[in-house]
């Protein structure tokens, strides 16, 4: 049947895998956005920049840090170490951001949070554009994950399988943490009614700060995963964040599981569009957003607000 359309099963599976990878990034990023929005009522426009920071730090750790420290014989921080360090660094940086700036805006209209984080995103992106230009740097796939799996004419690179698996594990972990643990229940209570929660003796401001840090760390984690797949550039985040916003509009930010499922599904749909109608692949998610707005304005998993 596929041959009739001039599409081989190989290319279909290959695009499905690419779709799943994009979907994993959408899921990780929209998950972070949803968690942050739930507690802070801020749409974090800096999310794209924090994703870029994750990838950038990984690249710097491999290629630049040795020179900076003046260590001659190729001092490098490997990919796997960065998978841990980069999110921590970005998380810490984001906590500073929240403590010094974002915190002052909670009593105002939500729009100001969006505008502030937009400004911060511009500054971060501009700095890295100034230092490294807009041309992409490529990051090698770590040795352990080189090569791929050959199954009946199909080639599945190990690294891509690793990305999908890891992203799924982290997404599931976050879901489990929020929906099934004691700390997560406090987080949900904070989303529902922060004042009442504080009256019960929970340190809500601290929780808000940590949540922002964790949400941004998720973005940086996605950035590290993305470094060997996409070109590492200063502008890699800003292009992605607009698509992720569309994903968030489609899914609605009411449900954690909802954002994960929506992210993955939209990545796959985008991948399939690339097989059947390549011209439309870059706008497919936006078209779905328009359809959702027409037929289910509150979003697939959203509550009416």
């Amino acid at each position: 049947m596929f041959e009739l359309l001039g599409i081989t099963p190989q290319s279909l599976v290959a695009q499905l895998l690419i779709g799943l990878i994009n979907g994993s990034f959408y899921a990780l990023l929209s998950l972070g956005l949803a968690v942050i929005f739930g507690l802070l009522n801020v749409i974090n426009f800096t999310h794209g920049a924090q994703y870029m920071l994750g990838a950038m730090l990984t690249w710097i750790g491999l290629n630049e840090l040795g020179n900076w420290l003046g260590i001659e014989d190729g001092f490098q921080i490997s990919y796997f170490v960065m998978l841990l360090i980069a999110p921590l660094l970005v998380g810490a940086f984001s906590i500073v951001l929240e403590k010094t700036m974002l915190k002052r805006l909670y009593h105002l209209d939500h729009l100001y949070g969006l505008l502030l984080t937009f400004g911060c995103a511009l500054v971060i992106e501009g700095l890295f554009r100034h230092w490294y230009g807009v041309l992409g740097e490529s990051y090698p796939v770590p040795e352990m994950l080189e090569g791929g799996l050959r199954v009946s004419g199909l080639y599945l690179p190990y690294y891509r399988l690793w990305v999908v698996a890891l992203a799924l594990i982290v997404c599931f972990g976050t879901w489990y943490f929020i929906e099934r643990t004691k700390l997560g229940s406090m987080l949900r209570a904070g989303t529902e009614n922060p004042k009442l929660l504080q009256a019960f003796g929970v340190n809500v401001p601290l929780m808000i700060t940590l949540t922002y840090g964790a949400g941004c760390a998720l973005a940086a984690f996605a950035g590290v995963l993305a470094a060997p797949i996409y070109q590492v550039t200063a502008v890699m985040g800003s292009n992605l964040i607009i698509v992720v916003f569309a994903v968030v509009v489609i899914g609605g930010m009411g449900s954690i599981a909802g954002s994960i499922v929506t992210g993955l599904a939209l990545g796959v749909i985008e991948g399939l569009t690339k097989v059947f109608y390549p011209e439309a692949s870059s706008v497919s998610i936006f078209v779905i957003m328009i359809l959702v707005l027409l037929f289910k304005p509150a979003g697939l998993f959203g509550k009416v607000r």
Partner: protein
């Protein structure tokens, strides 16, 4: 303290400023071209202010209207040989039509989602601009002829073009002020202040929002069309999200919900861009820093702050 209203709703401040602007071609400190660019972006920022300042809706995709009108105006003038005023008319109609489509979709959600939807929809226009044949991709439409106004007044020289831009700007300013001060504008403000109450008073809020959105998109298109004549160019940067962010910055810097704020903001940002254009990342960084400072410490904006201190309306 009721004073006798002047014709066309003119007041002293407006007359003085417009008269001063009319003198610009007679001296050589301020360049005509620079001022014309300011007029374009001032109209653009005023269009956004109509939504953000007076209706409380943040559109993060206004570049879509600005850019599409720039492209359409350039195309019809260059390829079909239309006169400038007709070109503008076509550009404005297209952007207002686009505004109707965007508006009907975006008003289905409130608050923060509204901004995200407009941003995402504008990205579709950006992709279209990179794909459609008539936009010439990366090159854009270059060498847009300024032509002759009504087929009579040649706009090729900078002085007649300056007065044409000034006239368009003055017209847009007075129109927007008329809209803001009309009963319709009062309803928009009531939506901004308290939407549920506006609904309970019996206003069809969604329809008011949609009309405001279409008007705003139309003015943004006017700005884009005029810009196509001034710089004789329509390019991808006109539809890029960066431009959407820039116009939000102009409005906030000048003062949300003030009439002159967007004009002042446009003048400052266009000036800054002139200095920083060749410095790569620095223009982005500066823009970002101004954003942060405005949002954190300076939410009234320049004109808003002056008006607040002097206790007057600007």
């Amino acid at each position: 303290m009721q004073t006798k209203p002047m014709p066309f709703g003119l007041d002293k401040t407006t007359i003085v400023i417009l008269a001063l602007l009319a003198l610009v071609p007679l001296q050589s400190f301020v360049y005509d071209l620079f001022m014309m660019k300011v007029f374009c972006f001032a109209i653009f920022a005023m269009s956004l202010n109509l939504l953000l300042g007076y209706t409380g809706l943040l559109s993060f995709g206004h570049a879509a209207f600005f850019g599409s009108a720039a492209y359409v105006t350039s195309h019809v003038v260059k390829e079909w040989g239309l006169t400038p005023e007709l070109g503008l008319l076509v550009g404005v109609s297209v952007s207002a039509g686009l505004g109707y489509v965007f508006g009907s979709l975006a008003i289905r959600r409130q608050g923060i989602y509204f901004a995200m939807i407009t941003l995402a929809l504008a990205q579709v226009i950006y992709f279209l601009a990179t794909q459609l044949p008539f936009t010439n991709g990366e090159d854009g439409i270059q060498g847009v002829p300024r032509g002759a106004l009504f087929g009579v007044i040649d706009l090729t020289d900078s002085t007649p073009m300056y007065y044409f831009s000034l006239a368009v700007f003055a017209l847009a300013f007075l129109l927007i002020r008329r809209i803001v001060n009309s009963p319709f504008g009062q309803v928009l403000k009531s939506i901004r202040e308290n939407e549920p109450r506006a609904i309970s008073l019996g206003f069809d809020v969604d329809r008011y929002k949609l009309v405001a959105f279409v008007l705003s998109a139309g003015f943004a298109g006017l700005a884009g069309g005029l810009k196509a004549y001034v710089l004789q160019l329509a390019s991808l940067s006109d539809v890029h999200w960066h431009t959407s962010g820039e116009v939000v910055l102009m409005t906030i810097l000048g003062g949300i919900g003030t009439l002159w704020g967007p004009v002042a903001g446009a003048a400052i940002v266009v000036n800054l861009n002139n200095y920083l254009a060749n410095l790569g990342g620095w223009s982005t960084i500066t823009m970002g820093v101004i954003f942060v400072v405005c949002v954190l410490a300076f939410r009234r904006g320049i004109v808003g702050e002056i008006a607040h201190r002097l206790k007057i309306k600007l």
